[in-house]
């Protein structure tokens, strides 16, 4: 009896292993199937919350009305996780609209196919510098620019005027203003419950590395040096970078200059401090205009170009590209979608079709953001983008570099007593170089 039972359970185990092996065998195939048209509407994904998704939907409705081409649009909040699972089964959506910085990651994974710039209608309306940002390590173009923006500095105007201080023009001014906001009771409630800057200092998603980049550049520093031909080297411990990080560290280590808890704050934790009038300074993107207008009021805060560091007032530029994936089998519809998205009509629709703009600053030179929005604050964004902005290199996968930068900076600013700027940045150099090497992008 026993042996019978034994063989039974053995058989079950064997079955389990066998079927597991079968699945394994199936999914281990390495050749990508040729993408074919399945006759379904073209599938477009974009990283979008509910509000942005509404705008996208309205924009594609206009597109379908114009061209008769049906679009299956999905606004996906957790886009990269979803793409990973879709990639595993080799069924990516036809088109993905996502951060320009995602390009390096996607090309490294083989998600994308080349885009022939010359076939894009109106490609000359898009600045060459933007097209350059859409190039992969091999020099080919893998994306079509769709929207751009920069970080801008927002300041509580009423607080600043109450304390009789000028609009900050240098980093020193900004620092003084932050200290004044923290110590001179700008909201007049008699309590020391206000602070200077809102800073997302968490390492979560590399937030600190993202926020700090602008101040680093303003002092002439950088995380990376572009050595040309798709090769990079770490450059985070230069004297200029040390100067920038020293300034950043000072803000963390002067009580009140940054909001309490900044070291572990993600943006979702940090921005309510500005929104509820606890801090008076924030460096962030223009997408926050509408929520700040609602919670604070439009007249209460001012939008300025970043104050100058020892070199200039460079700020971080970001944006979205249109990517064509390797499983796209619909060249005709794809061309129509792209042509529309970068046309003047498409760009305007992306700015105004819904509550939240999905095209922030248009890439099409014929469209003027400040005029379309009828809001001078957008002129500040547009000017900063044109004159003094810089983007993270998009040919490599920058996410891990942003992450190691956040980790290194978080460590440096956590320990106020230590003289650790130089050693911390040298450690960051090593980490960045290791990452570049693993990406085959180290010079």
């Amino acid at each position: 009896m026993d042996s019978k039972f034994k063989s039974y359970s053995r058989a079950t185990l064997a079955m389990a292993v066998a079927s597991a092996a079968m699945l394994t065998g199936c999914s281990a195939g390495s050749s990508t199937p040729a993408a074919t048209d399945d006759g379904q509407p073209i599938e477009v994904w974009a990283r979008a919350g509910t509000d942005a998704a509404t705008t996208y939907a309205a924009m594609f409705k206009e597109f379908t009305a114009k061209t008769g081409v049906e679009v299956n649009f999905q606004g996906v909040p957790d886009l990269d996780q979803q793409l990973q699972t879709r990639a595993a089964s080799k069924k990516l959506p036809d088109i993905v609209i996502n951060d320009s910085a995602a390009l390096g990651n996607y090309t490294a994974q083989g998600y994308l196919v080349e885009v022939d710039k010359s076939t894009v209608e109106g490609n000359d309306k898009i600045a060459d510098s933007l097209w350059d940002e859409a190039k992969g390590l091999d020099g080919a173009t893998y994306g079509v620019p769709f929207s751009r923006q920069t970080m801008v500095t927002m300041i509580r105007k009423d607080w600043r005027e109450k304390l009789g201080l000028p609009v900050p023009e240098t980093q020193e001014d900004l620092e003084k203003l932050a200290t004044a906001f923290a110590t001179q009771d700008p909201d007049g409630n008699g309590q020391a419950d206000t602070y200077g800057m809102t800073v997302p200092g968490s390492t979560e998603r590399g937030y600190l590395g993202w926020w700090a980049s602008s101040y680093l550049w303003q002092n002439g520093g950088a995380y990376l040096k572009d050595e040309g031909e798709g090769k990079f080297a770490a450059n985070a411990s230069s004297t200029e970078a040390q100067e920038g990080v020293t300034w950043i560290k000072k803000q963390f280590c002067t009580p009140g200059n940054t909001q309490p808890g900044a070291l572990t704050a993600a943006t979702s934790v940090a921005s309510p401090f500005f929104q509820t009038g606890k801090t008076g300074i924030i460096l962030t993107g223009p997408y926050n205009f509408s929520s700040f207008d609602t919670s604070l009021g439009k007249d209460v805060y001012e939008v300025i170009e970043a104050p100058k560091g020892s070199v200039d007032n460079t700020v971080l530029a970001e944006g979205e590209n249109i990517y064509v994936t390797a499983s796209n089998g619909k060249p005709e519809q794809t061309k129509q979608v792209i042509d529309y998205l970068v046309s003047a009509d498409g760009q305007k629709a992306g700015m105004t079709a819904g509550k939240q703009p999905i095209v922030r600053v248009p890439v099409n030179g014929d469209v003027d953001a400040a005029a379309v929005y009828n809001d001078p604050r957008w002129a500040v964004v547009q000017d900063a983008l044109q004159d003094s902005s810089k983007a993270f290199p998009s040919a490599i996968n920058f996410v891990p570099i942003k992450q190691v930068a956040a980790e290194a900076l978080n460590k440096i600013v956590s320990d106020c007593g230590a003289d650790n700027v130089e050693s911390g940045l040298q450690a960051l150099d090593t980490a960045i170089n290791d990452e570049l090497t693993s990406q085959n992008a180290k010079s």
Partner: protein, 303 residues
């Protein structure tokens, strides 16, 4: 067999049910320093564990909930957060969650009861390995199997069916939970073999045996796996995410975590969503508390 604990004998001896032999610490029923001490401790414990929720509720009804201080009452009462929450489609996600939690729990309990019946009331070779495998299913971090699981969901091996986008893609995987099988078989082991053998002599078949003899005896255990199972399904995050074909398939738990990362929405809406998400679990707990407390009893009194 084990001396199954009976509380009847001391009960019959005692006229009042509240005696100082009723609890491990011997809390006496009358007023006295003892009672005062207990009340003070209870108030303290209540403040520590439950008071922060006044802050959630207050924040959910407040226009601008403060990131720096706990407010027990909203400063400016508003329903705007709930309106914004319904604009974000949270009611739809709540519905998804309820469907999935209902279906998933039903399947999970059925599967667990069946498996536990076999594992605890039958004897066969390989049982030990199976029990270990049951525990193993509890230990797999979901993150490990997320990608492979998404492959399975997109194309069931041998069957070639894609579950993605249907509620089954969440309901079927949560149907297997080691915890439920584990607890359930512990309970079933407790039932004396004599009861089963007597029924068998009467010619009772296996299914009737399970449903009319065994299950009524471990009704309390069903309460236990009910509440913990509900919470397990309710809290699923990664699974609904990879099983979704598009965002309208998300559950409330997924939607809340998405909201948290959307700075344009604001904390009040997140809190409003949290209140919505709390209520079903709390109701299930209230409903099952009695049976659950009697439930674990049986499992825990052996030895």
């Amino acid at each position: 067999m084990s001396h199954t604990t009976t509380r009847t004998s001391p009960r019959t001896k005692r006229p009042s049910s509240s005696s100082r032999f009723d609890s491990a610490l011997g809390w006496s029923p009358g007023f006295g320093t003892n009672m005062v001490l207990r009340i003070v401790l209870c108030v303290l414990v209540f403040c520590i564990f439950a008071l922060p929720f006044a802050a959630i509720i207050s924040g959910a009804f407040d226009r601008n909930s403060s990131p720096t201080e706990i407010t027990l009452l909203p400063k400016t009462f508003t329903l705007a957060n709930f309106e914004a929450a319904s604009q974000q489609g949270l009611w739809g996600y709540l519905l998804n969650s309820l469907v999935i939690a209902g279906g998933g729990l039903l399947l999970q309990m059925t599967v667990s009861v069946f498996a536990a019946y076999s594992l605890s009331r039958k004897k066969f070779r390989g049982q030990a390995i199976l029990l270990l495998l049951v525990l193993l299913t509890m230990m797999l971090p979901e993150e490990v199997i997320a990608i492979p699981l998404s492959l399975v969901l997109g194309d069931l091996p041998l069957l070639g069916i894609s579950l993605r986008g249907s509620v089954l893609a969440v309901i079927l995987p949560v149907g297997i939970w080691g915890f439920s099988i584990f607890i359930m078989s512990e309970f079933m082991k407790e039932i004396p073999a004599e009861i089963e053998e007597a029924a068998r002599l009467d010619g009772v078949g296996e299914f009737r045996m399970l449903f009319t003899i065994i299950l009524p005896l471990c009704k309390p255990a069903l309460g236990v796996i009910g509440i913990f199972g509900f919470m397990m399904v309710w809290d699923q995050y990664l699974l609904p995410l990879i099983a979704a074909n598009d965002p309208s398939d998300y559950t409330l738990t997924v939607a809340l975590s998405v909201l948290r990362n959307d700075t344009t929405v604001g904390p009040g809406v997140l809190l409003a969503g949290a209140v919505m998400a709390m209520i079903p679990s709390l109701l299930v707990y209230l409903f099952l508390q009695r049976s659950m407390i009697r439930g674990i009893t049986a499992g825990a009194t052996k030895g």
